[in-house]
């Protein structure tokens, strides 16, 4: 499922519209809870990309136990392109650039070890669209690297009794093999 955003949001029972960068700045001045409400209620295409950045920054500023469950849901969300990016100009090619939840979760996971991985493994065992799956695998790699990331997946699929979950976790491990040098070390970890 691809998640897309619009600039209309219901915040704390009131109706607020974010249609300009200035109003998005106002969003930033609130606590992260408003940003969660923003992302959870928006539909359609984003018209103001600064609102998207602001919302993710707001959520990332929450305590990890509140931020991570929300951000995980948005792993497959690809932000709108900047004008320069429509021309092809990118200052980085890493996945966190276009998928803001990836970078936000990476930042949290780097500061709070173990805060992201459990929910991320659960996410990878669930059914998500291709981009969500790719983001989840990428995030697991940059947080844990190989072969530790594959060992994490194996520990989870060993516990599960759901064959569909197990299958998805195996697929994630297979995707991680592409980033495993030397590859045999990861193949051994997956056995």
């Amino acid at each position: 499922m691809k998640i897309s955003l619009t600039v209309t949001a219901v915040l704390l029972g009131g109706l607020m519209r974010f249609s300009s960068a200035q109003e998005c700045t106002a969003l930033a001045s609130h606590s992260g809870k408003e940003a969660i409400a923003y992302l959870q209620t928006v539909t359609g295409d984003a018209r103001t990309i600064s609102c998207v950045f602001t919302a993710f920054q707001g959520i990332a500023s929450l305590p990890p136990d509140q931020a991570v469950p929300v951000l995980i849901k948005y792993l497959g969300y690809e932000r709108p392109l900047l004008d320069s990016e429509k021309h092809g100009v990118f200052l980085t090619m890493d996945r966190g650039n276009l998928y803001p939840a990836v970078q936000a979760l990476f930042n949290i996971g780097s500061l709070h070890r173990g805060a992201v991985e459990p929910l991320l493994l659960t996410y990878l065992g669930e059914d998500h669209d291709e981009q969500g799956f790719k983001s989840g695998v990428y995030l697991l790699y940059v947080l844990r690297h190989t072969p530790a990331a594959i060992e994490d997946l194996k520990a989870r699929w060993t516990k599960t009794t759901d064959p569909a979950v197990s299958q998805r976790l195996h697929e994630a491990a297979q995707a991680l093999m592409n980033w495993c040098l030397p590859r045999k070390m990861c193949e051994d970890a997956a056995k």
């Binding site: 980085t92 966190g96 940059v142």
Partner: protein
Amino acid sequence: MQDGNGNVVASGSYDDNFGEGYARVVLTFQGTPGNIYFATGSHLDFVILSRDQPEEQPIEYDDYFFYEEADQLEAPGYDYFPVTSSFYGPGPNTPTRKHTITIANTTDSVAYPAPKVNLQVDFSGAVIATDLGYPIYDGMMGSNQLGLYGGQFGSNNGCVIGNEAVGTVTPANSPGPITIKRLVTSLACYTGASGSTPTSCPYPQSSLPADDTGNLIATNPQEMTPNGNANGQVFNLDIPGVTYENTDSNIIRLRVNFVDYAVDTDGKTVISQKVPYYIRISCSNATGTAQLIPVNPTDNSWGNGTTSILWNLH
């Protein structure tokens, strides 16, 4: 483990109930560089008595260490010791009424000096194999080589400059994490048939200097990677440039000034020199395959210091 104010920052215990002959406790905590921490270990000796003829009365116990008569020992949660038990052995002469005996204390302290980092940004050669971003870089670029790419690379089509910031930490056994940060201090983007028309850039002028650190970073100087120990080095990989998904007949020019520096575990304290560097890229995709279109011989290049961000580099 206590800090200088006597606050316990970590604790743990280990029971050697199976005759291993040693006890080891590993404690992990986040310290402040420059502070002193005290490790204190208390060793307790448990009396484990074997029972002879368990099915018969009176029950007898063998105390090879000769701690005490049975009626003076306490064994909460276990059996009790009948008066008729006998104890043997060359143990301590002084009996005790406790079921545990403190036999030793150990006090030690360790202080890590505040780490320093010598930082450099590489634009040529191979990505260092112990850089954890190496496999992703290799996957994106179809090669582990740093430097200028123009055309098809990996599954991409564009013009980019792969670079690797390498921080060498002193002392080399510093635990980290140490992060190499990257700032964009100024930049300009141009398009049009001649590549001279200003267009928006990934970071608007109002946001500069902008944090461009990314996530292809390795922050643990002691990381054990599949390709060996990081040996006191930390990394940050970057691939700035132009990549195309569609044919674009316009020339795209990108001029960026960066500054890299390393920060300590708090994410704020700068512990390296600041390294300014730049990239210049001019690219076109008119034919469907990206081509380098330099405005002059100094274009499509990189270097230490700063660059003009004008389209023609004047």
